[in-house]
């Protein structure tokens, strides 16, 4: 029995895990159409590398990773690309984002692939590359690209590998059933990880004590492998990365740091399975275990689900009763988000589809006033004061929110769960976090705008001064001319007029040097614009917004033209003057 530590707070919602564990992991028929969102996780969206109408094979790469924090996408089955366009995706906002639609050909034929059987002798970097190319993103939570977690360059060596098999959310049994049926492969995956990380001294599989079968399934495989299976009392949210680290090691992750900073890596147990498949079998991540549960479904069980399977397809094969369903949740009842449409596809982080009835999860009661009873503070695993956060969130007092460590809230929902007044606390926090981040962003922007405005003002002032100087020069010239005209001729109005006109012309005629300087200035200006536009364009390219790119390309062209023009004019000018000069010399 390894020592475990106890986190503060936490709640014990009814587990409801037995329903989906009666049957083994099943498989669904291949849906007619699969929808692979390019934006599956926190990082940058992937970049489609196929065209509409193109035929693809199962496991074929259909989108490339862009930028550092990004993973590629693969075709979950063989078929034809039937669309690349915006579709509603699995996101709390219910918004649409670019997706690749594949119309299945029903053959499900694999692209050629090959794994490395003896990974022990491979270079960790090669393995990491394989994991990256297999499109593996964390399957336990935020969907962070796993390869990055594993890649070297950590500030300190990794001495602890934590495998997260907690699955503390009610209803979800994806990890549990995967362990029961695939323990050997999972352990092999952990072996790969251990190899990549340079054999960390501690390898811990953290699992709640409500999964005795899973623990039993793991035990035979970990015997003298250096891996310990640590079980601890069931409590939500033990599975949170920070909480799990504390439970298993007694160390807290300092606020604002990553596990890697304290020499740890925490990875979901489903992810280890995917890593094994990728390295040993050469299969990219195109399917995952997803729990289909809730009383609005006649069949509750786990499925090996292809990424891109529309939720409606899963429901259709689970005796779904829409009328009875109070809400459709992707994820568990504590952290999952509601889906506004059943057409959204399963993604790499989808561990559960929950379709509860009204009696299971009734509609939310309207919130009553917070009575500051403190039940939320008792439940908070991060030792925050949720009621104060809520209060200041209502008052929109951002300073106080930050002083109360709003950003250490892991949004676990334990506080809302216990709140007797039914206050949607987590939504308040999410809103406030969003507002604060937005305000920070706007602050940066407005500082930038201030700089630009000040620069603009300076420029205008300078221009005004130049103009004023010019005007003064002109006036002077005119006066001089007048004076000379008056003294020289004295009579004869025609002569006067001519002289005045000449003087004006002389005044207007800027000296060649001035003229040249002006041209040079405009060239410098144009050059600056070109440079600016180029930079913007590069940035936009990185961010993949086509519309903006088009605009900017046009702008760049314009700026370039202007530059050319200016240069041409300068050249003309110089030529002329050389002519003039030579004439004068003559």
């Amino acid at each position: 029995m390894t020592k475990t530590w106890v986190t503060p707070g936490g709640v014990h919602p009814p587990e409801n895990k037995h329903q989906s564990l009666t049957l083994p992991i099943g498989a669904l028929p291949i849906p007619e159409k699969l929808l692979v969102p390019l934006n599956q996780h926190i990082g940058a969206p992937a970049n489609a590398c196929v065209k509409v109408g193109q035929k693809v094979l199962k496991g074929q790469r259909i989108a490339d990773a862009t930028g550092a924090v990004s993973v590629p996408m693969h075709a979950p089955t063989s078929g034809t690309i039937s669309a690349i366009e915006d579709r509603p995706i699995a996101h709390s906002s219910g918004m649409s984002a670019p997706c690749i639609e594949i119309t299945s050909d029903g053959k499900d034929s694999w692209i050629e692939h090959e794994g490395i059987a003896d990974f022990e002798h491979s270079n960790p970097e090669v393995l990491t590359k394989i994991i990256a190319d297999a499109g593996i993103a964390g399957m336990g939570g935020a969907g962070f690209p796993s390869a990055i977690k594993l890649s070297p360059g950590h500030t300190r060596p990794i001495d602890t590998l934590i495998v997260n098999a907690t699955e503390c959310e009610p209803y979800i049994t994806a990890d549990d059933s995967a362990i029961r049926e695939r323990a050997a492969e999972i352990i092999e995956g952990i072996g790969i990880l251990s190899h990549i990380l340079g054999n960390p001294s501690n390898i811990l599989i953290g699992i709640e004590d409500n999964k005795p079968e899973a623990i039993a399934a793991l035990q035979p495989h970990v015997a003298d492998s250096g891996i310990s299976v640590v079980s601890f009392p069931t409590k939500y949210p033990s599975g949170g990365e920070k909480q799990l680290i504390y439970i298993l090691t007694g160390k807290e992750l300092p606020s604002g740091t990553l596990p890697a900073d304290v020499g740890m890596v925490c990875i979901n147990i489903g992810t280890t399975y995917a890593i094994k498949r990728a390295v040993v079998n050469g299969e990219p991540l195109i399917s995952r275990v997803t729990t289909m549960t809730g009383n609005a479904c006649g069949i509750n069980r786990n499925y090996e689900t292809l990424i891109g399977t529309p939720v409606s397809h899963m429901l259709a094969h689970s005796e779904f009763n829409e009328a009875a369903c109070s809400r459709l949740v992707m994820g568990g009842p504590m952290m999952g988000f509601s889906l506004t449409s059943a057409d959204v596809p399963v993604v790499k982080t989808t561990n559960c589809i929950l379709a509860p009835t009204y009696s299971e999860i009734p509609e939310d009661e309207p919130a009553q006033a917070c009575i500051r009873c403190g039940m939320c503070a008792e439940a908070c695993p991060a030792s925050l004061l949720p009621q104060q956060l809520f209060w200041y969130s209502q008052a929109e007092d951002h300073d106080r929110l930050e002083a109360h460590n709003l950003f250490d809230c892991i949004e676990c929902g334990a506080c809302s769960y216990v709140c007797p007044s039914n206050i949607p606390l987590v939504q308040h926090y999410r809103h406030s976090k969003g507002e604060i981040l937005k305000a920070r962003e706007e602050k940066v922007k407005s500082d930038h705008a201030r700089g630009r405005f000040e620069f603009h003002q300076q420029r205008m002032e300078q221009a005004e001064k130049d103009k004023e100087a010019k005007r003064a020069a002109r006036r002077e010239a005119a006066e001089k001319a007048k004076a000379s005209a008056a003294t020289s001729t004295g009579e004869g109005s025609a002569a006067d007029i001519i002289a005045a006109a000449q003087a004006r012309a002389a005044a207007k005629k800027v000296s060649p040097e001035q003229q040249k300087a002006k041209f040079e200035r405009s060239i410098a200006g144009a050059e600056m614009r070109v440079q600016m536009a180029t930079e913007k364009l590069a940035e936009a390219a990185a961010e993949q917004s086509d519309e903006q790119k088009n605009i900017l390309t046009a702008a760049l062209d314009g700026a370039k033209q202007k530059l050319e023009q200016a240069q041409a004019r300068l050249a003309d000018h110089i030529e002329q003057h050389q002519e003039l000069d030579s004439e004068q010399v003559k």
Partner: protein
Amino acid sequence: MQEFAIILVSSILINNYVLVQFLGLCPFMGVSNKLESAIGMSAATTFVLTLTAMASYIVDVFVLMPLGLIYLRTIAFILVIAAVVQFTKMFIEKTSPLLYRVLGVFLPLITTNCAVLGVALQNASKDLNFMQSSLYGFGAGAGFSLVLIFFSAMRERLAAADIPAPFEGAAIAMITAGLMSLAFMGFGGLV
């Protein structure tokens, strides 16, 4: 020793200048929106109060009384207060620019804080000695600070309350102050 303790308890709690004697209410209402400013105001007021209590004692005993000019107390004390405030301002500015940035804006306000003049006048009419006068001054300041700081913390909390429209702002602040002074009545009879 006990006498000093009694003076302090009496001036801070039982005869609290703000809630019981009704002195210094304008800054109490005006500078209690933010805890930070309340703390600054408190520090500045306590300092000035103590100093004025001392200075006005000196003026009273060594100038006004011998000359038989008791009726000039008001005008003499107000001059003393203005001078002390000015002096404090200069002094702080010179010695601690940081403190000056915090307290500076509050200093001029103190001139018209009637608690300051009130303490000077009360001390004079009570025939206290120098030590007692200074203690009363300090106690008055401490009492003022105590309620001002607590009050501002409370007002900050009220910022998110669902107060009926006509009562928002000054009205609810008054009512809160009323309930506070209700609570302070509990100290009656302590000494």
